[in-house]
C-alpha cells in the first residue's frame, strides 16, 4: 500500500519527477560502473593489450588507442578519476561557500561588503580560465590540486545563494524567537537558518557537479589534468585529437560521449530537483 501511495505521488509530480528519475538512474549507473571497474573492464586500462589503433570490433568494443590499450577499458576506469575529482571539488566549494555565505549574510557590515566584493569579482570571471590559472599555478597532475582549481570557481555560487537567503531569513519571526530565548549566533546560523536553505543548496550542488565534470574534462583536455597513463575522459580526448585528421573516430567519440552522458544525467537530476523544490522559480 505504501508503495502504491508513493507511486501516485510520483505521477502527480509529473515531468520533474521523471527528470529526477532518469538523471538519477544515469548517475547511479555511472557510479556503479566506476566502482566495479576492475570486474567490468575486460583489459588492463594502462597496458598495451593488442596492436595499436584497431577499429572497434567484438574483441575491442571501442577499438584500441595509439599504445594498443583497450579504449573500452580505459573509459570504464576513466569515470573513477572524473567522479573523484568532481566530488572532491564540490565538497571543497560547499564547505567553503556555505559557511562564508552564512557568516557574511548574518554578520553584515564591513565583512559582508568585503566578502561580497571578492566573491562577485571571482564570480564574474570566466570559470574555466580561472581554473586554468589556478591549475597552472598549483601544478597539474595532482588530484587534490586539480580539485582545488575547480573548487575555487564554484565557491561564489554557494556564497551568493546562501547569503541572499540569509538576508531574507534573518529578520523572520522564528529567528527573533530563537534570539529571544537566548540562542547564540552560531546556533541561530546553523540550526535555525541553515535547514531552511538546504533545498536551495541541493539544487546548486547538483548544478555544481555538472559544471565541475565539464571543467575537469576541460582542464584535462587542455593538458592541465591528471598525468598519463591514468585513464581520464578529458585526457583521452586530448590524446585522440592528434589522430583525428587520420580518421580514427573511435579515439574521440567514446570518451566524449561519456562526459556528455554524465553531465546530462546530473543536469536532468538538478533541473528536476529544482522544479520540485522551488516551483516558483520554474520560470526563471
Amino acid at each position: 500500500m505504501k508503495f502504491k501511495g508513493a507511486l501516485r505521488e510520483f505521477k502527480r509530480a509529473g515531468l520533474p519527477a521523471y527528470m529526477c528519475l532518469a538523471g538519477g538512474t544515469i548517475l547511479f549507473v555511472i557510479i556503479l560502473i566506476s566502482l566495479l571497474a576492475p570486474f567490468i573492464a575486460p583489459y588492463d586500462p594502462i597496458s598495451s593489450v593488442d596492436r595499436p589503433l584497431l577499429p572497434p570490433s567484438r574483441k575491442h568494443l571501442m577499438g584500441t588507442d595509439l599504445h594498443g590499450r583497450d579504449v573500452y577499458s580505459r573509459i570504464i576506469y576513466g569515470g573513477r578519476v572524473v567522479l573523484l575529482i568532481s566530488a572532491l571539488s564540490v565538497a571543497i566549494s560547499l564547505t567553503a561557500g556555505v559557511p562564508l555565505g552564512l557568516l557574511s549574510g548574518y554578520v553584515g557590515g564591513i565583512l559582508d561588503r568585503v566578502l561580497s566584493l571578492v566573491m562577485d569579482s571571482l564570480y564574474s570571471f570566466p570559470g574555466i580560465i580561472l581554473a586554468i590559472a589556478i591549475a597552472a599555478m598549483l601544478g597539474s597532475g595532482n588530484l587534490l590540486n586539480i580539485a582545488i582549481a575547480i573548487a575555487v570557481v564554484y565557491i561564489p555560487m554557494y556564497f551568493r545563494m546562501v547569503r541572499g537567503q540569509v538576508l531574507s531569513l534573518k529578520e523572520s519571526l522564528f529567528v527573533e524567537a530563537a534570539r529571544a530565548i537566548g540562542a547564540s549566533d552560531i546556533t541561530i546560523m546553523f540550526t535555525y537558518i541553515l535547514p531552511h536553505i538546504l533545498p536551495a543548496i541541493v539544487v546548486v550542488l547538483s548544478l555544481n557537479v555538472a559544471d565541475a565534470i565539464l571543467t575537469e574534462a576541460g582542464l584535462s583536455f587542455l593538458g592541465l589534468g591528471v598525468n598519463p597513463p591514468t585513464p581520464d575522459w578529458g585526457f583521452d580526448l586530448r590524446d585522440g585529437k592528434r589522430y583525428l585528421p587520420s580518421g580514427y573516430w573511435w579515439l574521440i567519440t567514446f570518451p566524449g560521449l561519456m562526459i556528455i552522458i554524465a553531465v546530462i544525467g546530473i543536469t536532468l537530476l538538478g533541473e528536476g530537483l529544482n522544479d520540485l523544490f522551488n516551483p516558483r522559480l520554474r520560470e526563471s
Binding site: L117, V118, D120, S121, S124, F125, P126, G127, I128, I129, I132, A133, I134, A136, M137, L138, G139, A210, L214, A217, G218, F221, L222, G223, L224, G234, L237, R238, G240, K241, L244, P245, G247, W249, I252, T253, P255, G256, L257, I259, I260, V263, I264, T267, L268, E271, E283, S284
Partner: protein
C-alpha cells in the same frame, strides 16, 4: 537624466575595486606557480651567474612588494610588461591575438542568438507540444555538450570524412588579408579580397557553430519563457482581435518585447562565451587569446600569463559595465 549620470558614476566607481582585487589576486597567485621562468627561458644547463644576471635584468630579484607596485603602476599606464619568452611587450602580443578571439566570439554569438530566438519563439508558439519538449531537451543537451568533443565530431564529419570545410586554423595562410581591424572577415571585405573572405568564412563556420550551439540553450529558454508570458497578455489578444496577422503579432509585438532580456542575458553570458572560446580555440587551433594563454603556460612566461588573465578580467568588467549602463538607460527603475 541626473539620476542616470549618478548611476553611471557610482557604477564606474564600483568597477575600480573589482579590478584592483583582480590585479592583486592574479599577481600573488601566479607568483606561487611552480617552475622558474628564468630557468625555463635559459634552459636547465644555464650557469648560475647567467641566471642571476637574467633575474636582475627582469627585476625578479627585488622584494615582491616592489614588483607588485611596479606591476600595478605599469598596468594603469597600459604597460603589461615584457614577455620572458619573446621579449616583446605583452600587451602588443595580446592585441595581436585579440581580434581572432573577437571574431570567433561575434560569430558564435550571432549563431547562438539565431538558434535561441527562432527555437524559443517556436517552442513558445507551440507551448506544451512535442516541439516545445524537443527544444527543452535541446536546451539541456546543448548546455551539456563538451565543447572539444562536439567540435571534434564536427571536424570528423564535415572536414575529415566529407572534406567540405577546413579542419583548423583561421584562414589559408597564403590568403591572409592586409591587417586593418584584425578581423579577417571585415578586412577582406574592406580590401575587396573575395578569395580571402571565402577562406576566412569557411574556417569560421565549424568553430563558431560549435561555440554557438553550446551557448544557445539559455537563449532558447529565455525567449520561450518570455514569449509565453507576453503571448498571454491583453495587448496581444487585442492585436489578434483587431485582425492583425499572426506573423506580425509574433514578430512585431511579442518578439520585440523579449529583446531587452536577451541583451541583458548576453551581458551575463559574456564570461561563459570567453571561457568557451578558450576550449573552442584549442580544439580548432584558432590563434586567439586562449591558445596564447595555454602556449605561454607551457613556457612559464609569467608576464604573458598574468597579462592575458588581467586582459580577460578587464574585458569582463568593461562589458558588464556597458550592459548595466545600457540597462539603466532603458529601464529607469534600475537607477535608484
Amino acid at each position: 537624466m541626473a539620476g542616470l549620470r549618478a548611476f553611471i558614476i557610482s557604477r564606474i566607481l564600483l568597477t575600480i575595486p573589482m579590478i584592483f582585487i583582480l590585479l592583486t589576486v592574479v599577481f600573488y597567485v601566479l607568483r606561487m606557480m611552480p617552475g622558474d621562468p628564468v630557468i625555463a627561458m635559459l634552459g636547465e644547463k644555464a650557469s648560475p651567474k647567467l641566471i642571476e644576471e637574467m633575474r636582475a635584468k627582469l627585476g625578479l630579484n627585488r622584494p615582491l612588494i616592489y614588483q607588485y607596485i611596479d606591476y600595478v603602476i605599469g598596468i594603469l599606464k597600459g604597460d603589461f610588461g615584457k614577455s620572458t619568452w619573446t621579449q616583446r611587450p605583452v600587451l602588443q602580443e595580446i592585441l595581436d591575438r585579440f581580434p581572432a578571439t573577437l571574431e570567433l566570439a561575434i560569430f558564435a554569438t550571432l549563431i547562438s542568438l539565431g538558434i535561441g530566438v527562432l527555437g524559443g519563439a517556436l517552442a513558445a508558439y507551440r507551448e506544451n507540444t512535442v516541439i516545445d519538449l524537443l527544444f527543452r531537451i535541446i536546451g539541456i543537451v546543448s548546455y551539456s555538450l563538451f565543447i572539444p568533443w562536439f567540435g571534434m565530431i564536427l571536424q570528423m564529419v564535415f572536414s575529415v570524412k566529407l572534406g567540405l570545410l577546413p579542419l583548423s586554423s583561421r584562414i589559408d595562410p597564403l590568403l591572409r588579408p592586409r591587417r586593418i581591424t584584425g578581423l579577417y572577415v571585415i578586412d577582406s571585405i574592406i580590401t575587396g579580397d573575395l578569395k580571402a573572405l571565402e577562406s576566412a568564412l569557411a574556417h569560421l563556420i565549424l568553430p563558431s557553430v560549435t561555440l554557438g550551439i553550446v551557448l544557445s540553450g539559455i537563449y532558447i529558454r529565455l525567449t520561450r519563457n518570455n514569449m509565453i508570458e507576453i503571448l498571454r497578455q491583453d495587448f496581444i489578444r487585442a492585436a489578434r482581435a483587431r485582425g492583425v496577422g499572426e506573423s506580425t503579432v509574433l514578430v512585431r509585438h511579442a518578439l520585440k518585447n523579449t529583446l531587452i532580456p536577451l541583451l541583458t542575458m548576453m551581458g551575463l553570458q559574456f564570461a561563459l562565451l570567453l571561457g568557451g572560446a578558450v576550449l573552442t580555440e584549442t580544439t580548432f587551433s584558432w590563434p586567439g587569446m586562449g591558445t596564447f594563454l595555454l602556449e605561454r603556460i607551457d613556457y612559464r612566461d609569467f608576464p604573458a600569463i598574468q597579462g592575458t588573465i588581467v586582459f580577460y578580467g578587464l574585458l569582463v568588467a568593461l562589458v558588464s559595465l556597458i550592459v548595466d549602463i545600457f540597462y539603466a538607460y532603458i529601464d529607469p527603475r534600475i537607477r535608484y
